[in-house]
Symmetry: C2
Subunit: 109 residues, 2 copies
């Protein structure tokens, strides 16, 4: 569930969202987007969490800005984004960032 990202620099797309109460196939499309993104050139990994209060954060990691742009323009992704704005999301913010350094900790036991 952690993205196995390489040594920085690489890019992160931080997508923070608040859901509406509308289901309308959300779960299937959300999973399809993860599967589809994972198959794109330059995809490095994704981490996602949604709390009981409805706020969700999904961070996808990419090799380059060009890879992010290509994924943004993918037809099926564009359809899903439009559906998200039409029905699934009350509010969302997408931030594109360059990861400059990273520190990992993992328990040995």
């Amino acid at each position: 569930m952690f993205a196995n990202t390489p040594k920085p620099p690489y890019y992160a797309v931080i997508f923070t969202s608040m859901r509406t109460d509308i289901d309308a196939g959300y779960g299937e499309v959300a999973q399809r987007m993860v599967d589809l993104a994972s198959a794109q050139p330059g995809f490095l990994g994704v981490e996602s969490a949604r709390g009981e209060d409805g706020l969700g954060i999904t961070v996808s990691y990419w090799q380059s800005e060009a890879a992010i742009l290509a994924w943004k323009q993918h037809a099926e992704h564009t359809d899903a984004r439009n559906a998200g704005r039409a029905q699934w999301y009350r509010q969302c913010i997408t931030r594109v960032a360059q990861v400059q350094r990273a520190y990992a900790f993992e328990r040995e036991s």
Copy 2:
């Protein structure tokens, strides 16, 4: 619950973590860290979510790398980080990134 961040560029600290089963005051310290961070110079906001699978993502936003470094070196934050590694977190990754652009959507109704 959304961070009201300014126009980019600014910085994001993406903290992804998997909890252990150990409570030991975790909730109180986590809330204290949010309160304390919010009072630091250069703090812009924070967004946080933890799903049922135990994976959590907290993204804090900062004006500068200097502000991030000062917060990293804050004594009470250092104590909390050490306690996190000793007992609360099975695994965690901290990524420091520069936000280059952002897009927001908010439902009108």
